[in-house]
Structures are given as C-alpha cells and as structure tokens.
Subunit: 435 residues, 2 copies
C-alpha cells in the first residue's frame, strides 16, 4: 500500500529532520569531530579522576588504618552495586527493608557508576537483548567496548532496547537517589570516606586519596568486569547460545558475579553461584540480611529447572562429539547378502564373520584380536552371535563398538534360513519361501 | 531326560570321589584346619620375608648410595612387572626384542610375584572373567581379598577361569623363567641387589636389606594395588558395568597402571593413560624402548573407538540424571480442551496461557515472572505463542523448561480454529469441520 503512495510533504519533512540532526554516534569518527564522540563526563569520572587519585598516591603516605578502611569501604560500595543495583533493583531477586535499601542506595552511589535508575534500565536492556545491537554493552562489539567503551563513547539512547522500569519509578529511594545523584556520588564517593578517616584517625588526605578515589577506581574496574570478562572467559554449563560465561576468576574480582552463564539463564535468582563452595559473597550478604530480618522473599529457581538446563547443555555437547565419530555404516546402507554367499566367500579365504545378522570383514583385525587368532578364526564363516556375546567370551562395549565399524553386509533373513536354501538349491532361482 | 534316569553306579562313583577329596578351599575354615587353608609359601614370600626385612632396617644403617640404588632397582623390578609381565606377556600389547625380554623377565622375577607364566594365566582369567567367581582376584570378595587374600589363602585351581596360554608356552624365555623360578627370584630379588651394593661400595648388608628385601616389599604392595585399589577407587569414564576404575593415586603407586577402567576396556593397548599429562611411566618406558629399536608393533586402539566408549558412558550418566528430573506431564497424557473453554476459564479468573497449542496454569508464577506481572497477564486467555517466542521477548531455554512443568491441557486443533467454532456456535454440537 504505502509503496504506491507518492512521497508527500510530511515524508520529506521527516527525512529532512533526520538528515539535519543525526545522533553523533551515527556519524563516522573524523579528525575534526572525534571529541564530540567522547562522553567527556564519563571520561572524567572513570578516567581522569581515578587516575589522578592513583598519581596522588605518590605523595600520600598510606596509613594502616586508612588501608583497612579502604578495603572495608571497597566491599561496602561493591555490595552496593552487586547486592543493591544489580540483584535488588535491576532483577528484583529479593525484597529489602527500608534501612537496607538506604544503605545499598548510598553505598552503591559511592561506587560512582551512575544512578540506580540509569544503571538498572541499561542492565535490563542488557538481559533482554543480550548480544544484540540493542544490548547497551554487547560483547560482540569487542571486549574493551563492553568494559569501558560503551561509557567513554557517546551512544544513541534510542538504539538501546526499551525496558519497563515502572517499578523503579515508583520506588521513592530510587527516585530520590536519581534526582540527587551528583551529590550522592560526591558525598559517598569522596567526602564520606575522607571524613571517616579524618575524624577518627586524622588522615583526611589519605582517606580522600585511598578510601575515596583509588577505591572508586578499583570498584569501577571490578564491576565493569561483569560486562566484559563475564561474557568472554569461562564455561557455559547452562546454555551456549549467548555469550555469558562462568569463571571463578571473574567471581573473585566481582564479589561473586562471575557465575554469569547461570545468572543470564536464571536472572531472578538471588544467587549467582549455586554450589556452597563457590565464591559468591553477595549471596552470603543477602542471606545474612535475611537472617537479620532486613531482607525477605529471596527468589530461587527450583533445582529441578537448573539441572534440566545443565543436562540439556551437556547433551548438546555430547551430540556434537558423537556426530564427529565413526559409528560404522548404518545397517540400512549395507548390501544384503545371501547366507550361502557369506559362507562361500568365507571359505574362499575372506575373513568374514556374521554376528547378529550382520557380516563383518575382519582382515586387518584378526592378528590384533586380544582373544587370540585361533578363537576369532573359529567364528569365521559361521553364525558367531552366540560366541561373541558370551558363548565363548562376553565382549566389552568397546568390542561391540569396534565390530560395528567393520560391517560389510546384512544377511537376508538375519541368519541361515533353511526354507530359502531349499528353494534356492532345488531350482537355482530365488523364491520367497512363505510356507 | 536325565531326571528320569536312575542314578547308576557311575554317578554314585563320581559323587563318592568328589566327596572323598574336596579341595581344602571348598571346606569351611575351623579351629582345627585353618592352617591347611593358608598358602604358607606365599605367606612366607609376601609376609614374613618382607616384614623381616623391615625389622632388620632397625640395625642396618642406610647409606646414600644404597638408598639411590634401592629406588632405581625398585623402578627396574616394577617395570619388569608392568611393562613385562603385564603389558608384554599377559596382554601382548607390543613385541620386544630378545635383550628387552630377558631384562624384563629377570627384573620381573626380582619383584618376587611368581613366574610370568603363572602370573599371566591368572591375569588373563582376571580380564576374561572380571568380577565373577572365575576371576582369581575378584574385588567382589572384598578389597583385602583382591589385594592379598587370594594369595594368602589356598584356592581351588579349578575354580579359576580357563585361559589360553599357548603363546606363553611357546616362548622360550617364559618357559625358562617358569622352570627356574625359585632361582630367578632368589638371584634377582635378593642376591643381585646385595652383590651390586657390595661390590661397588661395599655395603653387602645394606644392599640385602634395603635394595633386596624392603624393595621387594614395596614393589609387591604397589603392584598388588592394581588388583585392589584400581578396582575400588576412582571414576569409570568408559564403562561402569564392571569394577575397574581410573584414579591418579593408583597410577602414582603403580607406575601408571591406575587408569584401569581404560585398561579393562582396551586391554591390548600398550598405554594405560592416553593423555600426555597423565602419569604412565610404563608407557613412556615402552615408547623409549621403541625409539631404541628394542620394542616394536606397539598396539593402540583408534581414538575413534576410545571416544565412542567415553561418549556412551557419559550418555548413560546423563540419561540417569534426566530420568530423575521433572519434565512436565507428557503431552499425550494431558486432557484436550476446546479453545472456547480455554478463553472462558481464563476470563473467569484462572491464570491460563496458551503457548504452541498447550495450556499452562500460571497461578503461583505470575508474581515471580522476571519480565513483570503486566507483560505476562497480557498473554492470559490469548494465544501467546508469538509473544513468548520473541514477539515481545525471546525467552531462554530455562523459561521453556519451566513452562513445560506448568502444562495442564492441550487445545483441540492447536489454536483457535474458526470453522470448528462456527460449527459449535451454529447448532450447539461439535462437528468435524472438513471443508
Ligand atoms: C567369534 C569369535 C570370537 C571369540 C571366540 C572371541 C573370544 C575372545 C576372548 C576369549 C577374549 C578375551 C581375551 C582375554 O581377555 O584374555 C576376547 C577379547 C576381545 N575380542 Fe574377541 N572373540 C571373537 C570375535 C571377536 C570379534 C569379531 C571382535 C571384533 C570386534 C573381537 C574383539 C575383541 C576385543 C576388542 C577383545 C578385548 C576385550 C574386550 O574388549 O572385551 N572379538 N575375544
Ligand atoms: C506471554 C507473555 C509473556 C511475556 C510478554 C513475557 C515477557 C518477558 C520479558 C520481557 C522478560 C525479560 C525480563 C528482563 O530480563 O528484563 C521475561 C523474562 C522471563 N519470562 Fe516471560 N513473558 C511472558 C510469559 C512467560 C511465561 C508464561 C513464563 C513461564 C515460564 C515466563 C518466564 C520467564 C522467565 C523465566 C524469564 C527470565 C528470563 C529468561 O529466562 O528468559 N514468561 N518475560
Ligand atoms: Fe551479562
Ligand atoms: Fe544481571
Ligand atoms: Fe583389573
Ligand atoms: Fe591387565
């Protein structure tokens, strides 16, 4: 219909408009516009600022208390992202009471990775459109892109897949944190860690440099690994159609978010690691909060569903391996032989042996037979089904496998059929001997 | 036939004879006959003598040269058993030149575990009748029995399965070693190690106690582990119908014979470990002999056959796991529903959803839906096949699995069939609407 319609003034206007203002990310990068492609605010927050902190360490002595505080606050802000931003808000894998939500919203803000609302919207799009063009940090665009590039370079917000965040828009803490995000980030990321170190052991500068800026750098790089490393390194025990992977190294770096193949398959499970011996401190934290009455409704997929995924993936791998192996000519592709022909050829010196109605050519194997030359020869030209299957020796599964690769024909009727032989010998032609 | 025949004099005589002289092992052990049950010669060679040597170490200083010589000679005599007795003579997994055969026959004799002929006959019976009563060292009779008991207690030689050892009887080295076994064992087991230490660094007693007797003790216990530990500890990657198992600990103890599940499945392969990183010094020794021109015709199963065994065993395990899981009611056991009934019930408030012609009951899942309550409700009472399969969201394999556990019925015709509905509504009865 629309093809027959001539392009009216409206159509022209629409085209004009999009030609006038293409989003910067849809134009090629040139020497004259490259700086417009860069998201300078992000470069500042994840590049310059952390690097400045690292440089400042040269002049800033590291005190033991400050060191401990930095590590501790690293875990707090890390959990703000993993237990808060990720498992609570993006995936609703459990419910948190007000104090816990506040703690996570503040600490998560201190990691300086954007507001809950912004982070969760992108993350939901990442799950819903994994590995496609609508995935904000698709690893298909390169490991570095999924780690940092997607923040450093400007993106067309329209390209990112749409997701439903009505639940977040109704959450007062989320809305408050989003609205005052700059203050939360500044306060919790820089000022608070410095004030703690300053008031308690009078190390204002150390608190700023180590527990503030350097710690931000480490938390950021660690959590970015979930988008890069977790889609690149490790196994795929549940599904290999998409890029997410499980690896203990990623888990160690990311407070337990490294079992990412599981996570993409079961996103609303509050766990990422399901085995007790796997490293998932975020899970342990949520579980502890539950014991303290601060978290409830921890969601878990039934282990039945989880094991089904594992079994199917193993089956897929097994079928791939199986298809590459030689299982012998399929029976239906083998020529049909008369029993008498089989016996005759065997007598004429061909090392043929019939087992379960199938003729096998043993030349080349007789001398290698683990049971000896004599025993195997005793079956040549006969029906060796019984001998092979326990009459003389109950052959292993491996022997059965090997036998099937030596198939050369099937015997008409499966074995010596007296009435066919009689019909055959009496007039020299072949008749169907239905009695 | 034979049941109607009266017991004649011959039958009586036969019974008499067997009643007169039952083999000692077929009589119960009592306080008065227990010493007759014991094979005292074996108790001497694998019990008293080695123990005496261990006790003698208390008064015998261990010199460094003697220590090194004991270790070295331990490997020589161990290889005599593994590369010689086992892989060369019992399994014919390669051919050896005269000097190598002589070396292995002498060193193997120095392990004091019986002659090649006796050892190989039992070992062939062990492979042919594994785990049955005809297996001379069946692990089914207990771990200790398979380790030592079968030698310590007298056995009825008639019970042990018959095997073909014509090849061994034709081998002059084997026959010679068997005939002069006591001298070979004494000479190579005790005298030779003492003479070496005595002549070269004047430690006759140390050579006797350490390189002789104690070394015998260790070699014996290590190789006995192939019959006990290798049938008891580890995995079964190739076949789990019998007891043999693969374990690296057994391999470490037995110069590489610990990949015993593989070995029982592929006994004429000169390797026991097929991966280069697995510990199989016996394989390395044989391979080196080949490079030196002393061994040839090293037999190997095709990797195709080996991988087939592995795939089948994995499949078996997988099928067992799969059978334990809930895959939902099979389609053919579900009740058939009319499309209109489905719609009606959904309107009446039952949370039913039709996907691919199957009706699912979502009550209890709606609130857990990772995609939210609203989206899932939008499919209730409709044909949600498209929505579920990518129309709105392309659900994961896990979601498909979960869905199948929620099945409650199949829709007649698979979906809304207009002609049936018309037939239904026009006269109130159901007609087959063939146009
Ligand atoms: C029909 C006559 C045959 C007889 C009487 C016979 C007999 C035996 C015996 C007694 C053994 C045990 C050797 C031992 O462990 O000491 C053996 C092993 C073996 N035979 Fe045969 N055999 C026959 C045919 C075949 C054929 C046609 C094949 C070809 C695939 C075959 C493959 C094997 C293999 C691979 C073994 C090693 C042990 C195992 O995997 O079970 N045999 N055979
Ligand atoms: C027919 C209407 C349905 C719609 C429109 C719908 C939509 C969605 C959407 C958009 C998501 C992605 C959530 C995100 O990652 O942000 C999702 C996830 C999911 N949905 Fe549905 N859904 C429907 C029905 C169902 C049903 C009947 C089941 C029952 C098995 C189900 C199970 C799941 C599961 C397990 C997930 C988690 C992600 C995955 O495993 O793919 N959905 N759904
Ligand atoms: Fe991901
Ligand atoms: Fe996620
Ligand atoms: Fe064995
Ligand atoms: Fe063996």
């Amino acid at each position: 219909m629309s093809t027959s319609k001539p392009a009216g003034p409206n159509a022209a206007a629409a085209t004009d408009k999009s030609e006038k203002k293409p989003h910067i990310s849809d134009t090629p990068i040139t020497w004259s516009n490259w700086y417009q492609h860069v998201n300078w605010m992000n470069v500042y927050f994840i590049g310059f600022l952390p690097l400045a902190g690292v440089v400042a360490t040269i002049w800033t002595p590291l005190r033991f208390y400050t060191f401990c505080w930095s590590i501790f606050y690293y875990f707090c802000t890390g959990l703000g992202i993993t237990a808060g931003y990720h498992r609570l808000w993006a995936h609703k894998s459990y419910s948190a009471s007000f104090p816990l939500e506040l703690f996570l919203a503040l600490c998560g803000g201190g990691a300086v990775e954007g507001s809950i609302r912004w982070w969760s919207r992108d993350h939901r799009a990442h799950h819903r459109y994994t590995d496609t063009n609508k995935d904000p940090y698709s690893v298909r665009k390169g490991l570095l892109y999924s780690h940092l590039g997607w923040m450093v370079m400007k993106q067309n917000p329209k390209r990112i897949g749409r997701t439903d965040i009505t639940d977040l828009n109704e959450n007062s803490i989320v809305v408050w944190q989003h609205r005052h995000y700059v203050w939360v980030a500044l306060g919790m990321g820089i000022i608070f860690p410095s004030v703690v170190a300053g008031l308690l052991w009078d190390d204002w500068v150390g608190g700023l440099v180590y527990a503030g800026i350097c710690r931000i750098f480490f938390v950021q790089q660690a959590t970015f690994c979930v988008n890069s490393l977790a889609h690149w390194l490790g196994d795929q025990p549940f599904d290999d159609r998409n890029s997410p992977r499980d690896h203990v190294v990623t888990a160690l770096v990311t407070l337990g978010e490294g079992y990412h193949n599981f996570h993409h398959e079961f996103p609303s499970d509050y766990r990422n690691a399901i085995q007790w011996w796997q490293y998932d401190p975020t899970k342990w934290f949520i579980w502890t909060m539950k014991q303290l009455g601060l978290a409830h409704n921890l969601k878990q997929f039934r282990s039945n569903e989880i094991e089904k995924g594992r079994v199917q993936q193993l089956q897929k791998k097994l079928d791939q391996t199986r298809a590459k192996l030689d299982w012998g000519t399929p029976l239906e592709q083998l020529p049909v032989m008369e029993w008498d022909d089989y016996v005759e050829q065997a007598k004429a010196g061909r090392a043929l042996i019939a087992v379960a109605g199938v003729v096998h050519d043993l030349s080349g194997f007789i001398n290698d037979h683990p049971g000896g030359r004599a025993l195997i020869l005793s079956g040549v030209g006969k029906d060796a089904t019984g001998m092979f299957n326990g009459g003389v020796y109950n052959h292993s599964n491996a022997a059965h496998n090997l036998l099937s690769t030596l198939r050369v024909g099937v015997i008409r009727g499966g074995m010596e059929v007296e009435i066919w032989k009689r019909a055959h010998s009496s007039d020299g032609t072949l008749k169907d001997g239905t009695v």
